[in-house]
Symmetry: C2
Subunit: 320 residues, 2 copies
């Protein structure tokens, strides 16, 4: 059966310093890993875990190397229920690796060995896989990792929309100005933004894409630019959801939890939001559900958590 | 001042499982690293540490990425005294990474993200750098990592020999039949073997290159094929040195030490041997010196040790 929710792009393993303030160049210090990762993969993993009660099938398009890292990523996605039949194995390249290191001042530093992760190609995007699609999720990171990956994202949107103009395109523009200049970010995001139904920016990303200061103003402007819903992600403060019904935004507070590792929380938020949206809930409940899913994630070390739909409901019930 | 001993090829960081029997695909287990590595780099590092008393200058030609891993490799080589002016920084690729994992049955498993390590190019090999060269050391691994690296090695030999036909070419054919088929190994090794003065095979490598069974027979045959000296490396059992003066080989016993990590011991052996050779010692003393250097290395966790010439002499004195 063809998937209802599809995402595509970089599949990675993440290897993290076990302590803060240990630079990647320090010899003999400890790393923990490999943790299955990659922003679009974290999205699809969470969407899959959260959609168990709704009969929503999910699928992923991407590339890993022919090695134990790639096996581990495929195993995690498969065991949580993602269709991995469109994950290609590249015999010439190593699975993408992200070395991640946190500092006590809140900054983090990556070393990124792209390998197979940049090899997602337009040839990997085939119409028949999209025959059942209701949501296609795009990550900004997949637009910047390689030209080939970017073109794959554009092609996926084109196919999804041409098969069914009602297809929801969700877009998390997770592109950082310290990685790419703002002009390039806007340029590569535009073809996606033009087709986006649900946009998931941080405050900084909203300001960049809208070209104005102030997260609220920026989200309102973005709403006028096409998206039906703009979800401002505010980390532990929760989110604010802008839509034509609520142009001033619905503010939904975050959950207070002890943070162990923030990696992947935003991508998990996106995945849960999409599931709530397809379930037909009101925006307030969707936002609370997504907040709770992100909150459970930060209590877990590693980019992809194991929480179930029931775990999330339990956290929500506690609050109410 | 141009270096007297030159090596070239892959510069890596090595990242190792801290415990045995932990496959690379096991999530959340510990790695230790990054350790500066790469067979030709370990060679030059040891040769440099051992040559402090002999006024032997050393230099390396290779490529790292523009990242903390590459900085760490350059820092280690530089701080031990290697000329790193010919180490190029590739802004498009990550420094090469080798993930290494040992099993209790003695096997080990690599995941190898080549990145910048395969980018050494014939354009990096310039005649003026070889004006003072007395020894050029080639590693089999640098012949197999990429075509560009292989051609660089061939070009370096050509330049070194054309500038001075007396240049010593030393060659460690560290090519494993599980990585490459034997036909290819012989084919890519031949242009180097034809020019080799000092050959450093293991028993298995000698058999492969000579095309006959039995390490002793193979070394004798290899000696007839051109090399002036064939040094059979026998790990903790030491080495046997075949030369025109001793066609039956001089057997030199190894040192008994507690093994912590064998990585890089063979490459260190090569480096020490070359220094002893340039110092003009007799073969027996050279072999003992190289054995002792390798023995100190296996007591150290990581591919490049810190032992000095004096440390090695101390271990040799203990034995006598």
């Amino acid at each position: 059966m063809k998937p209802i929710i599809i995402s595509l792009g970089e599949l990675l393993v993440e290897i993290m310093r076990t302590e803060v303030d240990v630079p990647h160049g320090r010899i003999g210090s400890y790393y923990k890993g490999p943790f299955p990762s990659g922003a679009p993969a974290i999205f699809i993993n969470t969407a899959t875990r959260m959609s168990k009660s709704f009969n929503l099938t999910t699928g992923f398009i991407g590339v890993v190397g022919n090695d134990e890292f790639g096996e581990e990523v495929r195993k995690k996605l498969k065991s949580d229920g993602v269709d991995i039949s469109k994950i290609r194995i590249d015999n010439l390249r190593t699975t993408g690796i992200a070395f991640n290191q946190y500092n006590s001042d809140g900054t983090r530093k990556f070393i990124f060995a792209v390998g197979a992760a940049g090899q997602t190609s337009p040839d990997d995007i085939n119409e028949e896989y999209f025959s059942n699609v209701q949501v296609l999720h795009i990550m900004g990171s997949s637009l910047s990792i390689s030209e080939s990956s970017r073109k794959s994202c554009y092609k996926a949107i084109e196919i999804a929309k041409s098969l069914n103009p009602q297809t929801i395109i969700s877009f998390d523009p997770n592109l950082r100005p310290e990685m790419l200049d703002i002009k390039t970010i806007i340029e590569i995001s535009k073809p996606v933004l033009d087709k986006t139904t649900i946009l998931f920016p941080s405050g900084e990303e909203a300001e960049m894409l809208a070209g104005i200061k102030g997260a609220e103003k920026a989200c309102k402007k973005l709403l006028e630019m096409g998206p039906k819903i703009v979800v401002l992600k505010q980390g532990k403060d929760g989110c604010t959801i802008y839509s034509s019904e609520d142009t001033n935004g619905i503010k939904i507070k975050g959950f207070e939890v002890e943070e162990i590792d923030p990696t992947g929380a935003g991508d998990s938020f996106d995945g849960a939001f999409i599931v709530g949206y397809l379930a037909g809930w009101d925006l307030k409940r969707i936002g609370m559900f997504a907040n709770a899913t992100g909150a459970l994630k930060v209590q877990f070390f590693g980019p992809m958590a194991n929480d179930t739909y029931e775990d999330v409901l339990k956290l929500m019930d506690k609050k109410i």
